[in-house]
Symmetry: C2
Subunit: 198 residues, 2 copies
């Protein structure tokens, strides 16, 4: 069989999302067969990430700087705070490129089952940040899932006394979506929120 080191590498890779034991083995072999092209650059890049990447102390984004690139960008508007579930959501918004405010990363959603309460999500830090003043609008950009919406409602309740505007993302037909393939919930939400064309 393979050496202990290789087995350990396969086991670690198999813990990544989207990789199972078989694909982890393929990935490990691809690295080992091309040490100059894949293995060595990966060692260096991972080591650099392990050393430098930190959570931003303001928004909890992942970056090599603290405050992160978004928080320290003077062009962005700190009066609009976009609350996301996780870093991937922040990155997705940044790829879309249309939001010019700042973020706060919750790190998940409330879940009694998984014992994720307000403390685990840093709700205190979010409230403190808004209480500081300077934030005029909080956009609750959580997923349109049961957990996401429960968390959004909870946050809205807690944020209300602080006097800022609280909004959420629109629900409706996704761009490119065909009605035939959409679920009833989406169709109902889109109908309810229908808008005049002219």
């Amino acid at each position: 069989m393979a050496a202990v080191e290789i087995e350990r590498l396969i086991r670690l890779l198999a813990r990544l999302p989207g990789l199972g034991p078989r694909s982890a083995r393929r990935a490990a072999l691809a690295m080992l067969k091309r040490p100059e092209v894949l293995l060595q650059p990966l060692v260096e890049t991972l080591a650099a990430c392990a050393e430098h990447v930190r959570r931003c102390s303001r928004c909890r984004n992942l970056d090599v700087r603290d405050p992160c690139g978004v928080c320290s960008d003077a062009e962005r508007d700190p009066k609009i705070l976009f609350v996301v579930e996780d870093v991937e959501d922040l990155w997705a918004m940044e790829r879309a490129g249309s939001f010019r405010g700042v973020y706060f990363v919750l790190g998940g959603t409330l879940s009694a089952l998984d014992r994720v309460g307000p403390d685990e999500l840093g709700v205190g830090a979010l409230l403190a940040r808004v209480a500081e003043g300077g934030v005029e609008e909080v956009i609750l950009g959580l997923g349109a899932t049961v957990e996401g919406q429960t968390t959004a409602h909870y946050l809205a309740e807690r944020l209300k006394p602080l006097g800022c505007r609280i909004t959420r993302l629109a629900q409706g037909v996704p761009v490119g979506g065909e009605l035939e393939y959409l679920d009833e919930g989406t169709l109902e939400a889109a109908l309810r929120a229908r808008q005049p064309i002219v």
Copy 2:
């Protein structure tokens, strides 16, 4: 957007088989979010692999020892040499656990299109190893693909003058296979190689 280091990590991960840009991003985030559990152990394990894993000088398997664990196992029979296309095939045979001889890893198949000739596959090293003497049987365990079988025929021609027995793996119905779902080529091969039950 994400830091340069993180972007580089995602780009490198996306070059692994089975991972695209999206899954590479998910994998990178999974590592970065759990530095103690995933990122740090991966850095260490990859560095250990980069430092210690080498091609075995006898069979071209990947291992931290040279000769590799298989070649240096005194329990194994060096008179039976199993020729495989690649390291993953060697590992698959070892997982099956029924072969107790030794291996030679070609590193691919002959391919005029990809400019893979006998020199790229180390055919010279294979012939030299058999010419040394001590090998009584060469099993050509190449894939049942056009490239695999072309390569097997070429190797058989080159090995014939050396006087050892040359065999190949049986073709037929895979264990658990249902005739209904098998292709015509497999059914034809299984019929041609049919065997008496008693």
